[in-house]
Every structure is written in C-alpha cells, then in structure tokens.
C-alpha cells in the first residue's frame, strides 16, 4: 500500500515533464533506426524492465555500480507513463520494477542507523545491481550465440542419401509424447460422453432401432450391429432385444455358413425360406445367451 501511494505520487510529480520524455523517445527511436515517417511516436521496445534500466543507465552515462537512483527512477517512470499515454499495454513486470525502484529510492532517503556496524549497512541498490549485471551477462551470451547460429546456418550438410531413411532419431520430444497422450485421452473422453449418452438407452429403444434398420434393409448384419455398440451394456441390450424379437416371431436369425456372420431378417418374407438355417440361434450365440442377466436388465426385458 505504501509503495502504491508512493508510486502514484512519483508519477504525478513527473507528469509535467512530458516534453522531455517524448524527446527521449524520439531520440531512442532514431537510435533504433526507425523510419521518421511514422505518424505516431514509437516507443523503443524493451524485452523487460531490466532491459529498460540498462538502456537508461547507458543513456545517462552513469555507472552501473553507483546508480543515481532518484534520476534513473524518474526516467523509468517517465517511460512507463509514456507507454500508457501511447496506449501500449504495460506489462506487469514493468510496474513491479517501478515499485522496486521507488522502494529503493525511499530506503536511500532513510537516515542510516549510526550504531549499525559498517558491513551490515548494505546498499539498498545491491540486489538490483546484481540482477542488472547478471542480465547483462546473459545478453552478451545471447549475442554470441546469435552470431554462432548465423555462421552455423551458413554451413550445409550433405544432401540426404537413400540410407537416411534409417535415421535412428525419433522425431518426437517428451512434450510431443505428452501432447499425443493428451489428444488420445481427449478423444477417449469424447467417446465416453457418447457412451454415457447411449447408456441411457432402454431395450425398447434397441428393439425400435432393430425394427427401423429392417425397414430400410431386408437384412441386417448382426456383427455390424454389435460392432456399433460402444459398451458392454449396449451389447447386452442388443442381444436381449434380438432374443425378444425372435421370441415374438418378429425376426429370424440366419447364418449361411459355420462361424459366418449372422443376419437379422424380418419374418414372413418369402426369401427367408430359401436360405434360412433355422429359427434357432447358432451354437455360439446360444452360449453367450446364457451369460447371467443382471437384475437391472430384467425389468426392461419384461416391460415388452
């Protein structure tokens, strides 16, 4: 809270210096080689608050080890303010740094405890200086890396050979492995949702479905119908529905060869007589028909 209030005060204090900020910005723009044709004043972009601070320190030609904190803070706040004036979204990190700077500035203003031992009286700027130096080092390293990459990109390996198809490297990273896994799971979730929807299905609906299928085609493959079932429960329902329809003499089941597909056909059509194996179920189906019917399926069966 203290910091926020302080920050607002500091902003207000610097608001009269708008002209000098714009001058600074224009200067920075020229330094960055931006074209002067831009209608709007363009702010130099900084990767983050540390970048901006390094820029200001360089521009003011002050030592990084002895930063004139009041001056640099003012410049920094001017910049952040200008960003807002120009409707540039100010990233949170810039505001955090603004608060940090103001905090350091206030600490510098506090009188030092004269009784405190010399070594304990740490410079409030120390941590910031360390951070800036670290940041500076990595910027230097990034620059060297960039140069290396440029040189490397100028070298070429041999053209691919016929034998390169045997590349042992798996073209996937662990993150891709994870992404693939997640996709599979998402797909699975979608299927489960369908399953849940289908689980609501009653045997009456299954019977209606079989009848409807037989309206469209004279014969329906039982295998196809079973394959379409997405859960065990649906398979059981389908099976019960078929038994029910056979019992009611609505359909017959036909099998033209041993272990071949079983076809469902409406009873009473003349073509039935020709290829019919028998009104009874083939052996295999009969066995699975003995599978225990759970209690909650029975009422559905008797409903019909």
């Amino acid at each position: 809270m203290f910091i926020t209030l302080f920050s607002c005060a500091a902003m207000a204090e610097t608001s009269t210096q708008q002209d000098s900020i714009l001058a600074t910005i224009a200067e920075a723009r020229l330094e960055l080689g931006e074209t002067a044709e831009h209608y709007k004043v363009k702010l130099p972009t900084f990767e983050g608050p540390l970048d901006l601070l390094l820029y200001l320190i360089r521009k003011e030609e002050v030592s990084i080890y002895d930063i004139p904190i009041a001056r640099i803070t003012e410049q920094y706040l001017n910049y952040v303010r200008a960003m807002r004036e120009l409707d540039i979204a100010v990233a949170g990190e810039f505001l955090v740094m603004a608060a940090t700077l103001i905090h350091i500035k206030s600490q510098m203003l506090l009188p030092r405890d004269p009784d405190a031992p010399e070594e304990e009286a740490e410079d409030p700027r120390a941590e910031l200086v360390y951070q800036l130096l670290e940041h500076q080092k990595f910027k230097g390293a990034a620059n060297v890396l960039h140069q290396r990459a440029m040189i490397e990109a100028a070298t070429f390996t041999r053209a691919s050979l016929e034998t390169d198809k045997n590349n042992p490297e798996i073209a996937a990273t662990t993150f891709q492995l994870f992404e693939v896994f997640r996709e599979v799971l998402n797909r699975r979730r979608a299927i489960t949702e369908i399953e849940i929807a289908r689980d609501e299905m009653t045997m009456a609906e299954k019977i209606a479905e079989i009848k409807l299928a037989l309206e469209e085609r004279s014969e329906v493959s039982a295998r196809e119908m079973f394959e379409r079932a997405r859960s065990r429960r649906e398979m059981v329902l389908l099976f019960l529905a078929l038994l029910e329809l056979v019992k009611e003499l609505v359909i017959r089941l036909k099998q033209s060869e041993m272990f071949g597909d079983i076809f469902i056909a409406k009873r009473g059509e003349p073509s039935d007589q020709v290829s019919e194996v028998g009104g009874q179920l083939p052996e295999g189906t009969d066995q699975s028909g003995n599978e225990p019917l759970t209690a909650d399926h029975r009422p559905a069966a008797t409903e019909l």
Binding site: K165, N167, I170, F175, F178, F181, I191
Partner: protein, 177 residues
C-alpha cells in the same frame, strides 16, 4: 574467379546436391564463369579425390557429378547402417508409445480401451525397436501381457527416469502464458 577459387565452391555444390549436378547447373549458379573454367575445376577436383585415395570419391554419374563413398569400404558402411534401427515412428506407434509411457504397465486390451483402436502392429513396431518391453502377465481373465517402456526409451528421449516425463501441470504452465 581462378580455378583455385572455383574448386571449393563447386565441391560444396556437388556435396549438397540431392541429385548428381551437371556443369550447366553449376554454371548457372556461378554466373559469368566460363564453361571451360568450370570443367577444368571439376577435373582437377576429381584428380585430387583420386590422388588422396580417401573414403570418398567424386564421380561422374548420370550426366552429373556426385560425391559418394568408395565401394571398398561398403562392408563397414553397410554394417553401420544396419546397426541403425529403422524408420521414424508412425502416429499410431507414437500414440501407443505415449499411452504405454504414461499408463505402464498396461495390457493390449487396456490400450485399446484408451486409444479406441487396436494397437497390435504398433506394439510390434515398438517391441522391434526395443522402446517397450513385456512386463509379465496381468492376473486377470485371459492373463494378458503387460507392457512398459524400456531403457532404450529413456535413452532416446533423453530421460534419466520416468518421473521426468512432462505432466499436465507442466503443459498448463506453458499454455497459461
């Protein structure tokens, strides 16, 4: 350019070319260089490759030039290429591998349950490439075989152990920016 300047450029072009590259193609890149100079540079290069008697030769083939290994060492070359496991993973294999990696030990029916499609040929590929291993039978009806990832899997994905596999949180960390 002098012949000495032309030679390394031409050598580079022959080296990177997918198909044998001919004088005309080279001349098109080296604008302004005469056909004679280019031909002279190529024949000097070929002579150098012959004199050196290294592992590579520069040969005229199918109307162009190509750098290739000498047949004398084909035995070793073949042995090396054979030691390289074959082919990249298909999407099916990669998906199956991902499911096994995250759900191991897991049986084929369980993988089917998750992927919604059978994975038997993918499993075979993964076993052939030693990325997965059998992990014993699951004590359920049918005693299906369980599978898990192998040491080779860790090596190829640069993991020191399975806890290093990224998880959902890591993924969300990245996506929440």
């Amino acid at each position: 350019m002098t012949i000495e300047e032309l030679k390394p450029i031409i050598e580079s072009l022959i080296f990177v070319s997918e198909e044998p590259i001919n004088e005309k193609q080279i001349a098109a890149i080296l604008e302004g260089e005469s056909a004679e100079a280019i031909e002279a540079a190529i024949s000097e290069l070929m002579a150098e490759y012959n004199e050196r008697g290294g592992g590579l030769e520069l040969r005229k083939i199918a109307g162009g030039y190509q750098i290739r290994t000498r047949p004398e060492h084909s035995e070793y070359v073949r042995r090396y290429l054979k030691s390289q496991p074959s082919a990249r993973l298909s999407i099916a294999a990669l998906e199956t591998l991902a499911v096994i990696a995250y759900k191991q030990p897991i049986t084929i029916p369980e993988i089917l349950e998750i992927r919604g499609v059978t994975s038997t040929s993918a499993i075979k590929t993964l076993l052939d490439r030693r990325l997965i291993v059998a992990r014993g039978h699951k004590q359920v009806v049918g005693r299906p075989m369980m599978y898990g990832t192998s040491k080779e899997f860790l090596i190829q994905f640069g993991l020191s152990d399975l806890s290093e596999l990224p998880n959902l949180e890591d993924f969300e960390d990245l996506m929440s920016s």
